[in-house]
Amino acid sequence: MIRNAGAGSGDARPADLPSHVLAAHRKLLRRRAVAVLTTQIAILLVFLAVWEVAGRRQWIDVLLFSYPSKIARLLAGKLADGSLMPHVWTTVLETGAGFLLGTLLGTALATLIWWSPFLSRVLDPYLVVANSMPKVALGPLFIVGLGPNMGAIIATTLAVTVIITTLVVYASFKEVDDNYVKVVRMFGGTKSQSFRKAILPASIPAIVSTLKVNVGLAWVGVIVGEFLVSKQGLGYLIIYGFQVFNFTLVLGSLVIIAIVATVMYRVVASIEARLNRKP
């Protein structure tokens, strides 16, 4: 049963009801948002605390898993001597580019195969199989094609994101109620208008949730790319950390990735909220 925000304010005069209910509803929304945030922060803090204690008391192998304050010290040190930010910027740049390009290309490809059902049927197995190629094994392709530079890294990112985006977005295009397209066609709308006026707006929620998936995939792609070829970036720091067996550095890089990914998530979430302002 949908509990209405104002249930219980039964003694208000009916004429005042709407404003009462509206106020109660807003309060509820605010309270819920606060509860969510509090829980999220609590989870984070508990996790950090347990990790810290486990590390300090040697319940876990510190060599392999380090602990938060050790990681924080390392990062603070690198931040202070200015050796951290160039890595962060490089990777953020690459990730941003990979994320945007991947989402755009994937959506464009999905649009193309939506346009031609024949093409979609022909390409379907190729997409699935291409998606199953381990991207690391394709390293030589990118290096030979684009040289051992940022191009190869972004290509790796695209290899990771584009096909998944295509498959997921295309699936959401297909899910759109045919009747919306019928309405457009009824008014003499062209195929392109059917797409722009019905298919695309109806799929926006699905595309936004693909954005969330892509935030993750772009990072994975960039880091894999940096594994293959790089002299700077968080992926580079990670392999370097592995090389010199400094897992605190590895985990520190992961922490930074998590932080920047959270920021990116916030951006996507606010886009989502803006699109959902309606209902």
Binding site: M1, I2, R3, N4, A5, G6, A7, S9, G10, D11, A12, P14, L17, P18, S19, V21, L22, H25, R277, K278, P279
Partner: protein, 264 residues
């Protein structure tokens, strides 16, 4: 009439819809009683809150203020005693017509062979016998509406809430279904709350007619149908002497509401 059947009581029910920055008072202090075995029609201009009221009685939405009781107990959510036929059919596109008809029973537990053939019988009675194995998108609008009706009827609820159940049907089919519903309800002593735009239908089928006003939704009139019209079948009722007077009375209510409104 069966004494064990429940009645529905509404007391001072108000409802406010909230969305985003606005709140809209859809119902204001609605109070009435649907006796066990009674058939009440709800008429009123489009947008006056009839569907909202039915959803509240069904327990699908909680009223902002006021109290709803079914069989003496406060409504806190949907119950098996109540069968609600929505204004739009919302058949499940992935189920056949027969499976759509059986969804209610399926949700109540296992389906017996008897119930299955009962549903098939009901479908056939409504002229849908040969489409039982098809899917909703293969049916016409009126056919889908009838499937939704079957879906509600097969669970044999004590109280039927019907939201414009015959709006997409031709006159003949409509009359026959009116007859079918009236017979069923009378036979088992069940009650019903019918939303309709067809004043004749309301008069022909009901024991009482409630006329609602709009902006905000309020009770305007509660009209008792004379015994002789009630006793007649829906088809016959339309030819009774008092029928036209009643029709005119309700008609005038609408005219009055209309007159109050900005020019349409």
């Amino acid at each position: 009439m069966d004494e064990a059947k429940p009645s529905v009581v509404l007391q001072e029910v108000s409802h406010v819809y909230v969305s985003g920055k606005t709140a809209f008072l859809a119902l204001e202090r609605i109070g009435f009683t649907l006796q066990a075995g009674e058939f009440v029609s709800l008429v009123g201009p489009s947008g006056c809150g009839k569907t909202t009221l039915l959803s509240i009685v069904a327990g699908l939405i909680a009223p902002t203020a006021g109290r709803v009781e079914v069989g003496g107990k406060a409504v806190t959510g949907p119950s098996r005693q109540i069968g609600y036929m929505l204004q739009h059919d919302y058949l499940f596109p992935w189920r056949t017509i027969l499976d759509n008809s059986l969804i209610g029973l399926e949700l109540h537990g296992n389906i017996t062979e008897g119930q299955r053939s009962e549903a098939l019988g009901l479908l056939a009675e409504m002229g849908l016998g040969d489409v039982a194995g098809q899917y909703p998108h293969q049916l016409s609008g009126g056919m889908r509406q009838r499937v939704a009706l079957v879906r509600t009827l097969v669970t044999s609820p004590d109280i039927l809430l019907l939201d414009e159940p015959f709006s997409a049907l031709d006159y003949q089919t409509k009359l026959q279904l009116e007859q079918l519903i009236a017979d069923t309800l009378r036979k088992w002593g069940k009650s019903a709350l019918l939303v309709t735009h067809d004043i004749s239908e309301a008069i022909a089928m009901s024991d009482r007619i409630i006329v609602m006003d709009r902006r905000p939704g309020r009770l305007r009139r509660d009209i008792r149908i004379p015994e002789e019209i009630r006793a007649a079948s829906p088809m016959k009722a339309r030819e009774m002497p008092g029928f036209h007077r009643l029709f005119g009375e309700i008609w005038n209510e609408f005219e009055d509401m209309e007159a109050r409104r900005e020019p349409l």
